[in-house]
């Protein structure tokens, strides 16, 4: 407290010496500068949207709606269709959600109800450090460690086990190279785990302790308390956390670029090389010689922008409605 009182004293002292007018002017100036900085955020967001819309006009005019419906991606003939990257973005994100969300809820259940109190802090920090690992590290690890492991063990087993089944089998065909949609989706799943878990832990913490205690009081098991009391109470915030994870998965670039194989071909098999919007941008943007090629890539960027911002905004609205301030 000492320093603050000093600060107040110092403030009055120096003001006493000033003419009356100057503090008022400084006040107005200070206020305007901070407002300008806050407005800068709005401007840059508007700038991003505007630039993407303007610079993708060439491609929008050339291909129209066909851009979204065809999978031809031919820089030589200058014909571009975004179906393959859109498909890849959606498929890898779906796999990521199928893997990451159950894992995140498992971690949340563990940290909320099962974990010994002394371990709770260190374990939460460890899970949150997973979120701090740069995505390029996940990519390298995926390429050099996970992909060879998938090729040697997981994919042959899946082909033998599920390949012969009529419809589902189509998903598990082709040579087991290790890279491809499935590996990319798995890495994304692990990457979104800490985000979803961090939000879930915070919204679960907002549940009034009385509800938990009442449920335990009538003899509910730990799982029943979690499933029937905590999760329903925090459902909106939890859904917001899941959407936040989806937003990350849709836009993640480097981790995917390493293991996706970069092929603009549509394939039903999850083992096939594919591409996502962000991976196409990372791989091709600096090599795009012609204006139309570059404009097509920018249109891809515009699609990604619309997709992720819609998801992220929905996530934030749900988190805001769930009450408690969530920090991610």
């Amino acid at each position: 407290m000492g320093t603050q009182v000093e600060a107040v004293a110092e403030a009055t002292e120096s003001d006493g010496a000033m003419p009356v007018r100057r503090p008022l002017m400084t006040e107005g100036l200070f206020r305007s500068v901070t407002l300008a900085a806050a407005a800068f955020l709005l401007l840059s967001l508007a700038g991003i949207a505007l630039l993407l819309v303007v610079q993708s006009q060439l491609s929008i005019r050339a291909f129209g709606i066909h851009f979204l419906l065809t999978d031809t991606w031919n820089p030589v003939k200058q014909v571009f269709g975004a179906l393959a990257p859109i498909f890849g973005t959606l498929v890898t994100s779906i796999i990521a959600m199928l893997v990451g969300v159950p894992l995140a809820f498992g971690v949340t259940f563990f940290l909320a109800e099962l974990c010994p109190f002394a371990l709770r802090g260190p374990l939460s920090v460890a899970i949150e450090l997973l979120a701090a690992v740069p995505s390029i590290i996940f990519g390298m690890w995926g390429l050099f460690v996970l992909a060879p492991f998938m090729a040697a063990h997981v994919q042959p087993a899946l082909i033998a086990l599920l390949g012969p089944i009529p419809v589902i089998g189509k998903l598990f065909q082709g040579p087991p190279f290790g890279i491809g949609m499935l590996t990319a989706g798995l890495i994304l799943g692990v990457m979104i785990l800490p985000y979803v878990a961090a939000v879930a832990r915070q919204v679960i913490a907002t549940v009034p302790p009385m509800l938990r205690e009442a449920a335990f009081g009538v003899g509910a098991t730990r799982w029943e308390v979690f499933r029937r009391v905590l999760v329903p109470y925090a459902s909106k915030g939890l859904l917001g956390g899941v959407m936040l994870g989806l937003g990350r998965a849709l836009g993640e670039t480097m981790a995917v670029t390493f293991v996706i194989g970069n092929s603009h071909r549509l394939s039903a098999s999850l083992f096939a090389a594919g591409t996502t919007i962000s991976a196409s941008l990372a791989n091709e943007f600096t090599e795009a010689e012609s204006d139309l090629y570059q404009s097509s890539l920018l249109e891809l960027g515009l699609i990604l922008f619309v997709l992720t911002f819609a998801v992220l905004m929905a996530a934030r609205i749900m988190l805001a409605q769930s009450g408690g301030k969530v920090k991610v």
């Binding site: 500068v33 050099f144 836009g251 941008l281």
Partner: protein, 281 residues
């Protein structure tokens, strides 16, 4: 067996299974972190040499290091933070001190939160449009702008949060003795939330020092050490990307050395920020 008893057994089985799966999920999460760190240490340390810090990136098969990439990363990260910090803290100040419950503040807060998790490659495209295409060449400046735009929402968010933690009575005390608003903010609020705001800046540094995607089409890469930020500039993440995807043994080794450097930096910054935040609250 009575029906009551079978329900009890069923509940107990469900409980056991769910508890087991929760343990499994946590172990998987921790195992992935451990496996990544293990692989980084194993391959990174064996590739790390003194020359890594003294020489620039080599041609395939030749000896070399990462000096140009390390310097490039430091310079661009430094510039980005120097630019983003005043803007971010000022914006946070407006939200926490002037905007408060106003509609405009709510909108800016909402959009800032959205920008916080926006795909960084989109930022790269934007900066390409404003700072590369207009000038006609890739440059370290463009890379720094892109990194700054990514750091900005992190700084805004944490500085607002930290200023909100300062008790209202401190502000009132300042005003009561006649200090104008700005003086209260600068001399009381900033002082009291200094370590909190520093946490935000550290987290922003951690966030951008691993960023690759926004540098790919802004700073690009440079095989040589350059002091001219107007030139294409190499950075650790981009060099790691290029070298790791290459078929050359010595390039891949350098990529692992770089990956170790980046991960250690990012993790240390995060832990540092955490302990600083704990002390400030």
């Amino acid at each position: 067996m009575t029906p009551d008893r079978s329900i009890l057994i069923q509940r107990r089985v469900v409980e056991r299974i769910s508890v087991g799966l929760a343990w499994l999920a946590t172990l998987i999460g921790l195992a992935v972190l451990a496996l990544i760190l293990f692989e980084l240490l194993r391959r990174g340390i064996s590739s790390l040499r003194v020359s890594t810090f003294l020489q620039s990136t080599p041609a395939p098969g030749e000896a070399g290091g990462l000096l140009n990439a390390i310097i490039g990363s430091l310079v661009m990260t430094g510039l980005a933070i120097v630019v983003a910090t005043p803007i971010g803290v000022a914006a946070g100040t407006w939200l926490a001190e002037y905007g408060r419950d106003r509609k405009l503040a709510a909108i800016i807060r909402f959009l800032n939160d959205t920008l916080l998790s926006a795909p960084s490659i989109i930022i790269g495209l934007f900066v390409y449009g404003i700072a590369v295409r207009t000038v006609g060449h890739f440059s370290g400046w463009a890379g720094a702008i892109a990194l700054g735009l990514i750091a900005l929402p992190v700084i805004v968010r944490t500085s607002e949060d930290m200023m909100n933690l300062i008790p209202e009575s401190l502000r009132e005390a300042g005003m009561a003795v006649g200090a104008p608003r700005w003086k209260v903010i600068v001399s009381i609020v900033y002082r009291a939330s200094f370590s909190g705001i520093s946490t935000g800046i550290l987290l922003a540094v951690a966030r951008i020092s691993g960023e690759t995607a926004p540098l790919l089409f802004t700073a690009l890469n440079n095989q040589f050490l350059t002091s001219d930020i107007n030139q294409p500039t190499s950075s650790l993440p981009v060099v790691i990307f290029q070298f790791a995807m290459s078929p050359y043994e010595n390039w891949q080794q350098l990529a692992w050395a770089g990956a170790l450097l980046i991960s250690v930096t990012v993790l240390v910054l995060n832990i540092l920020a955490r302990s600083l935040a704990r002390r400030s609250t």
